[in-house]
């Protein structure tokens, strides 16, 4: 298996505050990697740095062997990345337009085809395709964000908490959909707190205070004390 994304001692922060301290990470082609970590551990910051929304203050990021550290987000996304942010949509644009932007680089016909697939997955969006995204409920926005990221057809997709705020019926559906995506050879890096996502993952990393504390396969993570402590809040005593 070849590495698609290599993260090498990445450092990042906001103003005077450093958040990431030498993070190392690898995502292989077609692999799904889960990013775990408590509130404020730095998951969002890492994802934003990888996609270029946050300047990288040290270390290097490589996509398919090519150094992308110095590139802006647009150039990285053109090279095959996509990012689903925690909350963002284009509020004054319609849902259809939001989706179209997700497939920014694709042809119209291709975008239309992908959009139809998204509408099937999320009928709520189909119903409101002409409404402004800013009128959606919290969960509907999440669906839109997810659909938008999937629209990209990128080979390396970063997702920041795709299931938070979704009703169980949709969580199930999202997981099913992602399984389909994974089958298509796409690599996923998902920051997520819902345990149900573990079933998707090949491997995972646990972040702690801006550092990579633990990494390993799903099985290794499931049995790791540190993960249990951080994640399930158990095992601290035993």
């Amino acid at each position: 298996m070849s590495a698609l994304l290599e993260v090498d001692k990445v450092e990042a922060g906001y103003g005077a505050v450093q958040v990431l301290w030498g993070c190392d990470m690898v995502v292989n082609k077609g692999e799904t990697v889960l990013l775990l970590g408590v509130n404020g551990a730095g998951k969002t910051t890492l994802l934003r740095t990888l996609v270029g929304l946050q300047p990288c203050r040290g270390g290097a990021i490589r996509l398919a062997g090519e150094d992308v550290t110095g590139l802006g987000p647009d150039a990285r996304i053109r090279r095959g990345m996509a990012y689903m942010s925690e909350l963002g949509v284009f509020p004054t644009l319609s849902i259809a337009e939001n989706l179209r932007l997700g497939a920014y680089g694709a042809s119209n016909a291709e975008a239309r085809r992908r959009a139809e697939a998204m509408y099937q997955m999320f009928p709520a969006l189909a119903q409101k395709r002409r409404s402004a995204a800013g009128s959606l409920s919290g969960g509907q926005r999440k669906m839109l964000g997810l659909a938008k990221a999937l629209m990209s057809g990128a080979e390396m997709i970063f997702m920041d908490e795709p299931s938070s705020g979704l009703a169980p019926v949709f969580v199930t559906q999202v997981i099913e959909t992602l399984k389909g995506v994974i089958g298509g050879g796409t690599s996923l890096l998902i920051a997520e707190q819902n345990i149900a996502f573990l079933e998707l993952a090949d491997r995972g990393y646990l972040m702690d205070h801006g550092k990579m504390a633990v990494s390993g396969t799903r099985a290794e993570l499931e049995s790791s004390d540190a993960v249990r402590r951080a994640y399930f809040g158990v095992g601290a005593e035993g």
């Binding site: 775990l36 709520a124 919290g138 669906m143 019926v169 399930f232 809040g233």
Partner: protein, 236 residues
């Protein structure tokens, strides 16, 4: 103990630009009770909270709090009566510090809040001087809750505070909410995470497409076919 309901919604309806968001919503809440409000995305849960807290006005129906109709009151007047809420999408005062966020609410509500205790509760003690803008989304949500607590509410409306938290953190929040309820604060908790709700309450209302389709215990809900298709999906 047939105490009067602290909150009662009667035939409440709301629409936006022709889109019917809520239809004929009726329910009551007893003092000290925790009510779970669940439903698929876009079913109108946040809208219910918006109507109770006064962010929006209902088109029809009445909302009674402590026996008085409140649906025409401004939001801040309702806050003074003892209603407060958190927001699903965090809305704190981002140009202020964590502490100031809470102080403002305490001051204007005239409530003599124990600010250090609140900071402790919401897990931000030690960060009181940090600008709210530097908090993560989840921390901002907690700050929102802190702001609500600082006004000394009798009824607290909690909108998806658990979203994006891991099981450990969820347990912590559930404990916090239980502690708050134990002080006699009634609560409506909107949540999708059933294990979490289960820790808090047994009574839930299920909304679907703006209508109440179920009212009863959480356990019964998960066996109600309508609820299962609308909310849990096949794999409940």
């Amino acid at each position: 103990m047939s105490s009067e309901p602290i909150l009662a919604l009667t035939n409440v309806a709301k629409s936006f630009g022709g889109f019917q968001v809520l239809t004929d919503v009726n329910f009551e809440l007893k003092p000290g009770e925790i009510l779970g409000l669940v439903g698929p995305n876009g079913s109108g849960k946040t809208s219910v909270i918006n109507l109770i807290s006064g962010v929006h006005q209902p088109e029809a129906g009445t909302i009674r709090f402590d026996g008085a109709e409140i649906q025409r009151l401004t939001p801040h007047a309702r806050v003074k009566l003892g209603i407060n809420r958190s927001f699903q999408v965090p809305k704190c005062f981002i140009s202020m510090s964590v502490r100031e966020n809470i102080e403002v609410a305490a001051h204007f509500s005239g409530h003599d809040a124990d600010i250090p205790a609140i900071l402790e509760d919401i897990g931000l003690s030690g960060m009181e001087a940090a600008p709210a803008a530097s908090l993560t989304a989840n921390q901002q949500k907690m700050l929102d809750l802190g702001r609500a607590l600082a006004t000394g509410p009798k009824l607290l409306l909690v909108d998806e505070i658990g979203a994006g938290l891991n099981p450990a953190e969820l347990t912590g929040i559930a404990d916090l909410l239980k502690r708050i309820a134990a002080r006699g604060i009634s609560m409506i908790v909107v949540e999708h995470l059933m294990e979490f709700l289960n820790k808090l309450t047994s009574r839930v209302i299920v909304l679907s497409a703006g209508k109440i389709i179920f009212e009863g215990s959480l356990g019964d809900a998960s066996h109600d076919p309508e609820v299962v298709t609308a909310f849990f999906g096949g794999a409940a």
